[in-house]
Every structure is written in structure tokens, then in C-alpha cells.
């Protein structure tokens, strides 16, 4: 990909993406450009871009170097890594719950203490995710325990 930076006397900074089609690389760049603190840019399998409110995301999972956002009834891909999601939206309740998952604490319906210091979280859509022994103390800390 060719990158050109032009300096000029412009009223507003502008980014123009010029491509034949919206491929994975372009989607990543678009997503990074559009994702702010209040919105999260994601896309569907048919490469449709959507802007999600972080509150809509129940949890995020990293599978084969790709990050997936799980909402109540849909799954979206995003260019952000789990660490970036955690860092950006920590104040909004995002919390690391395992090596490959970040959960939105507002998306949890209930928690259950399990053997081996693990915690099972039931999400708003009824899905269950496991908070590993390693990350359970972090969650407890976030909850003020």
C-alpha cells in the first residue's frame, strides 16, 4: 500500500482512502480511523461497516489474531486488539477476563463463583463465559472487592 502525506494550507485535516475495493486492510484502517471513545467501528462478514456504542458490546474475543465483538444478537469484527479495547474502554466497564477475552461488565447479568478460583459470567444474552483463575482477582478488584 502506498502512503502519501501532503502538507498544505487546508481548513480541516482530511484523510482520503483510495482503493479498488474495501478489502481487509482497508477495513482495518477505516475502523481505526472511525473508532473513537464513544464509538467502535466494526464490520460484518459481508464487509459492511457499523458504528457500535461500546455499551452494545457484551464481550470481545480474540480468535486466530482477529478480534470479534459479541453483541446481544450479532457478532462483528474489529481492527482493535483486546489490549486496545481494554485500554480505551476501561472506564466504560471493559475488563480483561482471560487471555483471549475482554468483557463489558455492564453486559453481565450474573456471576457465579466456581471451584479453582474461577468465575462464570452469564451475559445479558444468556451466553456463559469463564473468567480464568489468573484474571478473576482483577475482576474482583474492578468490582471493589
Amino acid at each position: 500500500m502506498k502512503i502519501t502525506v501532503e502538507h498544505g494550507d487546508v481548513l480541516e485535516n482530511e484523510v482520503i482512502l483510495r482503493c479498488r475495493e474495501l478489502d481487509e486492510e482497508m477495513l482495518h484502517i477505516l475502523s481505526l480511523l472511525k473508532s473513537g471513545l464513544q464509538t467502535l467501528c466494526a464490520w460484518t462478514e459481508d464487509r459492511q461497516l457499523v458504528l457500535l456504542r461500546p455499551g452494545e458490546v457484551l464481550y470481545a474475543e480474540s480468535v486466530e489474531e482477529r478480534t470479534w465483538l459479541y453483541c446481544e444478537s450479532a457478532v462483528w469484527a474489529t481492527a482493535l486488539t483486546l489490549s486496545e479495547l481494554e485500554a480505551r474502554y476501561e472506564a466504560l466497564g471493559f475488563c480483561r477476563i482471560s487471555r483471549s477475552m475482554v468483557a463489558n461488565l455492564h453486559g453481565i447479568r450474573r456471576l457465579k463463583s466456581c471451584a479453582g478460583n474461577r468465575i462464570e459470567a452469564t451475559m445479558r444474552n444468556g451466553e456463559r463465559v469463564l473468567i480464568s483463575r489468573h484474571y478473576a482477582p482483577l475482576l474482583r478488584e474492578r468490582l471493589g472487592m
Partner: protein
């Protein structure tokens, strides 16, 4: 060095558990002896109990190794295996080393029932602890969700 540290931590784990189980076994023997009118436990028996407790503590660290965790079903299977092992090791130890000489058969049945009750109490304590922790977790979660 890493291997040594791991072995050292494992040894410490076994030692703690062995101490706890030996204390329980000696206390159990002392109570049974007292009920039979004998108010002492000889050192040799205590040493045998230490050895049996070491075997059980060793087996426990193999069944539940430090830092590992499993799903609910696998955890249940391992716990059941440990319960069976507790019966085999301690009832076997009592028979092999003759810890309770002169105890009538019906007493032996009561003693086994007490052992089972002890194991059940252990599980009940774990269940209570999990229930209490679950309640606390949900209280704090609700508080967090309302606050932020």
C-alpha cells in the same frame, strides 16, 4: 533453579496438607481411644498416621496440582477420585497398622460413617463458601453497574 523452586513449592504444599490430615487422624484416634477408656496415643501410631497422611497429601497434589483448574465435570470426577482415595488410604491404613485394636464391628461401621460425614462436611463447606462468594460477587457487580 526453576525446577528446584517448583519442587520446593510442591513440597511445602504436601507438608501443609500432611500436617492437617495427620492432626485430624491423631485427634480421631484420641477420641476413639478415650471412648474405650484409654487416654494416650503411642508415638509409633502417630508416625504411621503421618506416613499415611503423606501418601494421601501426595496423591491430592497429583489429582489437584497447584495452579491448574478444570471444568465442572472434570473437577467433579477428580473430587470423587479423591474421596474414594481418602477411604482406601485411611481405612486401609487403619486395617494394615491396626490403629483401633479391640474395636467391635459395629463401631468400625460408625467410624467409617464418621469419615464419610467428615468428607461430606468438607464438600458442604466448599459449597457454602462458593455460595457466599457468588452472593458477594453479584452484590458488587450490581453496585458497579449502578455506579458507573
Amino acid at each position: 533453579m526453576q525446577e528446584f523452586n517448583r519442587t520446593y513449592l510442591w513440597g511445602r504444599d504436601v507438608k501443609y496438607r500432611m500436617g492437617l490430615y495427620t492432626t485430624a487422624a491423631v485427634f480421631y484416634k484420641a477420641v476413639v481411644s478415650a471412648l474405650l477408656g484409654e487416654f494416650s496415643v503411642d508415638s509409633w501410631t502417630m508416625l504411621e498416621m503421618l506416613l499415611v497422611s503423606f501418601l494421601f497429601a501426595f496423591a491430592e497434589t497429583v489429582i489437584f496440582p497447584r495452579g491448574k483448574s478444570w471444568g465442572e465435570a472434570a473437577m467433579g470426577r477428580r473430587a470423587a477420585l479423591l474421596a474414594v482415595l481418602a477411604n482406601v488410604v485411611y481405612i486401609g491404613g487403619a486395617l494394615v497398622f491396626d490403629w483401633f485394636p479391640g474395636v467391635p464391628a459395629w463401631w468400625a461401621a460408625v467410624m467409617i460413617a464418621v469419615l464419610e460425614l467428615g468428607l461430606a462436611a468438607l464438600w458442604y463447606a466448599l459449597w457454602l463458601e462458593n455460595r457466599r462468594d457468588t452472593r458477594l460477587l453479584n452484590q458488587n457487580l450490581q453496585h458497579f453497574q449502578q455506579e458507573t
